[in-house]
Symmetry: C2
Subunit: 320 residues, 2 copies
Amino acid sequence: MTASTNGLVLALAGGVGGAKLALGLSRVLLPDRLAIVVNTGDDEQFHGLHVSPDLDTMTYTLSGLYNPETGWGIDGDSFETLQMLNRLGADTWFNLGSRDFAMHIRRTELLAQGLSLSQVTSQLTAHLGIDHPIIPMSDQPVRTVLDTDEGTLSMQEYFVKRRAEPAVRAISYVGAQDAQPSPGFVSALESASAIIVCPSNPFLSVAPILAVPGIRDAMAEHHVPRVAVSPIVGGAAVRGPAGKIMQELGADVSAVGVAREYREICDVLVLDSQDADLEEAVRTEGVGAAVMPTIMQTDEDKIQLAERVLALVADLENRK
Amino acid sequence: MTASTNGLVLALAGGVGGAKLALGLSRVLLPDRLAIVVNTGDDEQFHGLHVSPDLDTMTYTLSGLYNPETGWGIDGDSFETLQMLNRLGADTWFNLGSRDFAMHIRRTELLAQGLSLSQVTSQLTAHLGIDHPIIPMSDQPVRTVLDTDEGTLSMQEYFVKRRAEPAVRAISYVGAQDAQPSPGFVSALESASAIIVCPSNPFLSVAPILAVPGIRDAMAEHHVPRVAVSPIVGGAAVRGPAGKIMQELGADVSAVGVAREYREICDVLVLDSQDADLEEAVRTEGVGAAVMPTIMQTDEDKIQLAERVLALVADLENRK
């Protein structure tokens, strides 16, 4: 285990890629040393239930329930409930497993009782034996909306229903200006001695978090080591539509493009070993660069990347 | 197939026993000749979802989905969703299957969209291929509440959670005075040329229907043949706690006790063959009596009882 900062590590994450690094961090850092703040811009009502895809991916990953084949959902889950909903005339393009439904049912019930999304998440993750805090970025609704050549689509409509095929022209984070960072996010930001931006989609996972009022500025002005891991490797996204979207929005589909997006909010961008040749170009963007293997297949990969990133954080701390 | 009235048959029913006769009737009468009005006094919110146990039992029975072992729920259903809800800290004493959950999720969603319970039921049953109208007694909440030696219990708390063990002192139908009969019930009552009270619990299934304002009077004043099938056979309920409750409330646990309850609203009470000796005692209560086999195991039994009851109706019609 690597020596690293003694304070609190704040990790920002979206879906599957972010959850992988968060799992690694959770194996290396004790629960009071790690706060995982998760994007809720993908949240959506399905069948009258509040579904939080990124919170659930994080929860299933950290509880060991996750399906390693898909990255989302619960391993071995059935789709009986969804199939029956389909028979009953519901529109069932969004895959939800039968055990997965329990999460959405319980979340919706507790929200209706007046608990905040933070309180609900804390309660549900505790019941699944997760000791590390998983914190929604905001308790108010922020919804990532894509302006595409097929019209305006919610994140899940774009990503799941339309399989990320429409061309994206612009992205907005509806509700962000009226939202506040969740209490846990505010307190983690205040006490953080390091910030790690996990390898998640810069536009669909990290940007919604930064769009919550005060967060981008707080991140920009923070004096602690701030390290981001590039989700773009070898000119393409490791997973998901990040590459396609960056291209459609005119960004450079490379770690250099990621560095441009994160310039204000990170000190060092971690590049994958196969992008070692981009180190100089990243530095030209005004962001430090570090090269290491970032592809996470096994739990061992996740823990190793977490340890290497924490070593980088410790190194930055010593230099400050 | 037996000749019978040419008009509309209105059947009143509660749970499993009622659904059995309703299935028989639905095999003998075309959809425009039968209206099935179902008790909603057992409805309850579970996990924030609107559960209508008697509507569901009727729906699963008529669609062929029902579990012949239990009488309730869907045959072959799993309990994955419920088990996960339990893991998430929910109180899961009420059994709900994973496919069954789809019904409650969809019902709750459509009710939240502003549809009435009648409209929702009509939509859901149509999707399951049911042609005969299944009609909730009211679109407003009426809740059967039991005053017991363990305090006040809802119908499901009493029946499922406490396994019908507490002694019942009194039963009330909360909300009844502010409820109205559903539009389908009103119209079926107006055009009915016969009324059949299915073999359901007089206090827990039929009484809530009669408690809806105007229904008891309309039934009492109706001039069409009104036939009820006794749910008490051989001094005990065929199924469920009807016998125990009748005893605790000081009623005679026999077809005679049932006749007393139904005196105002029925012309003829159907007694099971093994209660043939009670025929005279029933007549003494001011109710006609007819004796036939009423125990329904197979679908053939259900169809035979339906045919015999319809023949009785036709006979009464000819005599009027």
